[in-house]
Symmetry: D2
Subunit: 323 residues, 4 copies
């Protein structure tokens, strides 16, 4: 029955692994992708919108509505991070099929935060929100609609670091981009399912699997191979330079897709632990740090920290994403 379909909203800053998250969600059975929203991050929000339109075109899903949201953090000015994902966020292969010139899809008018808040009203208690970029849109939705945090059924966030950041010694990229929004989210939501930077490092897709995945004779696999080329080359270079850390055999950490998996397939979450999380706003070395503590009476759990995800289900879902 249609009523059993899972309603999902994806808020993202596409971004290669956001693209993978979106393709995973589009291919998942029994999932209704209620909306997709763009947020600043890897690239500016306008480009994120173009990238969302391109993925929807690639996947033949023009009916999925998408929206532009915040083009800068809640309080601080923007940072720039185009070095990693390329200038267009998708590996700078504008010609790869579907080329930008073939993409007609347009974002809907109105700020994404308003549409997200409206969707949570329409699907009260039944909407899973997956956030794979800076949390500005989520925080804004909570600020312009105070009932929003309670109405969202589940909030799954890719972000934060348990011990060591990937941008600063203590801060992960998404939280570092907009610490105030991350702070607001953990203050307003009763429970965030958190897929941390370290969690994604523990769930690397092995290099041979990735090679086979990209070699599939499908349009989606060809597209993925094109947009990942730059990132893969960068990572190989970095791995060669590093003494330690990471899978020595390489592989791919599809951070955002791992979060999307938990939205479409709850059973894939094998282990998780309750935590209290707050996001540090100050400090010469600690702005944007996710401060995680074991819950106490004074600081009750507001976070479920994902520990272990089923690699079989993950790989199966990733397979489906490019079929």
């Amino acid at each position: 029955a249609g009523s059993k379909r899972r309603n999902i909203w994806l808020d993202c800053d596409v971004g290669v692994d956001d693209a993978q998250a979106l393709m995973l969600a589009l291919s998942a059975p029994e999932v209704e992708l209620v909306g997709v929203s763009a947020v600043h991050g890897n690239v500016g929000v306008t480009q994120v919108g173009r990238n969302i339109g391109r993925i929807l075109t690639l996947c033949g899903r023009p009916e999925v509505p998408f929206f532009l949201g915040a083009d800068e953090p809640l309080v601080a000015p923007s940072m720039d991070a185009s070095y990693f994902h390329g200038e267009d966020g998708l590996g700078d292969r504008p010609d790869a099929f579907p080329p930008y010139s073939d993409v007609d899809l347009q974002s809907e008018p109105g700020h994404a935060a308003m549409h997200l808040a409206a969707a949570a009203q329409e699907h009260e208690g039944e909407l899973t929100v997956v956030a794979t970029g800076p949390l500005t849109n989520i925080a804004l939705a909570a600020k312009v609609d105070e009932g929003f945090p309670q109405r969202v059924g589940r909030l799954i966030v890719m972000g934060g670091a348990e011990k060591e950041g990937n941008v600063t010694p203590t801060a992960e990229y998404n939280f570092h981009c907009d610490p105030e929004s991350a702070h607001v989210v953990f203050r307003k939501f009763r429970e965030v399912l958190l897929v941390s930077w370290e969690c994604t490092l523990r769930h690397t897709l092995p290099a041979p699997w990735v090679a086979a995945w990209l070699a599939k004779p499908t349009a989606k696999a060809r597209f993925m191979a094109a947009v990942m080329a730059k990132s893969l080359a960068y990572e190989q270079q970095r791995d060669a330079a590093l003494e330690e850390g990471g899978d020595p055999a390489g592989g791919w950490n599809a951070c955002d897709a791992l979060a999307a998996l938990l939205a479409v397939c709850n059973e894939a979450l094998l282990e998780a632990e309750p935590r209290h999380c707050t996001v540090e706003l100050q400090g010469a070395n600690t702005r944007g740090m996710s401060v995680l503590q074991r819950p106490s009476a004074a600081l009750p759990a507001n976070t479920l920290l994902a520990r272990k995800v089923c690699m079989q289900q993950y790989q199966r879902a990733m397979e489906a994403a490019t079929d």
Copy 2:
């Protein structure tokens, strides 16, 4: 011709002097009060809404639309300041005419920030926004509609301190309540007309004038006398305790009404100076401080600091407010 009327929006946290600001705006000739929005501050936003409804009832202006906005600061948790304005924000005289029980007016649905952004679209370049509470609604309107700051014709803010705060050594109440929103406003708007705490101290309404004003045989004057009683008593007690500072003969600083005057009567502004203003977010003693500098190439003017206001026009407008 109606098209010459000045379009004004008042965002306030009523509050006795916000009530005076609203009554001043309602009584001003050639003014179209496009909307009134409530923000947290002196009391919670729901109570602010009730107070707006009560003033509109008192003034026989049920057609003016009003809206509820933010009930807490943009990022940090709320502070409480009910000690000064009384528990209901209007001197705790719920029985005074019109008693709360006689007020039927309801706020319009939807968040005030959205309605404010829509009003700025409708009256592009022709809307004067007066903000007499914490700047949360203004900041949110700028965040959910990036064109908002450019569309607003004028923004007049009561807030900030030039040298010494009234809540902390460095911070004025409205900015101290929500430093992040104030920070955002000065980062996004090209020019804020700022009525600082010290500016209001330089424009005290003399005690004899106030006494005569409250003694007028009108419903509005009687209401004002009732709701000001608590604050006047508090101030007299404080003045007696202070060694120095303030008008020795007492008097009343209607901070918010002074800002409203500049909205309805531009010519009342006799002197003002350009400044660069930013709002400090950190510091053991300086969070919420308005950091004012003479403009430079690196830090161009974003603020017009009100220096001198015409007391005749101020008193005339205040007279009209309670006629």
Copy 3:
């Protein structure tokens, strides 16, 4: 030959485990304890001095010079932490042998930081400094004698946390007590051998071993049993209350003694890793945090992070301490 003896200075805030560190150093062969200095921390500096005198009396070593140092942090006001170690820092057993009333030893005149700097001049390049309290004295020695950091042969510090603090979510006690001093130390010294909070947790002395150790028929063991009673009871209660973490069978983490072991017996250090360390001075949740990073060209190693210590040598040295 006497010239081969290892010259050691112990800076401590006695404290039960500081007492164990001092007794360990006093009993170590081939060690010349050049001086002992007192710093604020578990108790005030005057009481720390009394406790040092008591231990020297217990161990029959009245010739060892000791000095009083800082009674408060470098910049901030003092904190209090008497809850754990008891009001006198040694488990509140003033009557246990040797009772305070029998202790005649007096600290030498002059600030400990000056004496420490002088000792480093006398034993240039040959002095090992062990710091088991807040780092105020060490920082002050570096400030009043700019050559001090280079003259010290080795600096071993018990302090800092690799992932989770024991006072705040991010800060360990010694660093939390005086973040500015810890910051200065890591800025001025080329290499600090750091025994972190987690390192001490990985080197718990097993409960049965502790029981046997305390049951020895010696004056030193009897003293130790008396002064540890309160802490052991507190820890048992806490362990019972905790869901997880720590050795389920209990045991004792003699944090400061572990650092002292590495001073007297270099070979006991089995594994260590170079790091860059800086100490965060700000943050709502991060003040006093030891920010550890893998070294880079921009941030070269200034820290050797102790990973693994030989438990046999540790237990043997602890045995000797109470023989």
Copy 4:
């Protein structure tokens, strides 16, 4: 009788106006200059020491002992400010009489902070300390000798801003150079006589007076004319560029000499007000700000803020300095 002589210690970062302060103190009747200490600031501490030796040579006072102190702030790394006072701190006229090559005087061994603390012990309650540079030496003396703040008879500090800084919007140079030391000083001393940046601006030596002063046919006046040339040219250029502020006719603000005057001639202080002062350590715009408040029970006065100084006595003392 010699016992009536006023004992003065000058701590300075010479610096043209520090040189004026030193010359003023050397020429004052009934003053015993107990010691002079060098602190980092306008130039490095070694160069400050050379400059002190040069001034003592110029004034024929080789018997006055001087000492080198801190070469960097208490906690943070150094800043550089050689742009204003020239690379050698004295206008880069190494050849002017007496040239550096003729200066034989050497600083005494040992850190200035120790000597200062010893002097306060020797002259307990009778020593006036004048600090005209960053407060690092003063703070260190208070840290290595906890009785120091009580033993000092008077502490006169040139530093801090009442409203607007001269380095940042909120911070004056000396406090900005070492906020932590300034913070410590106001926390430890019962009363600091503070000569703020604004106070020095209110006591400008008029341009004609300065011209006559520099034209005197004395060696000291010739030296002064030489070392001031660069600063005077810089200030004329700046005044021409400024729209407003400062004496339109120019003139000279001998900030440090004004503080020295109050040490040698107590009656020159015509007006002063008690304040509570603390120094902000954080903030994007406020680090190093002197936060001044009217005293209260919670925050009692620790500062006497100089308001008005006798210009006649000031000019007379300055005359004597170059006679």
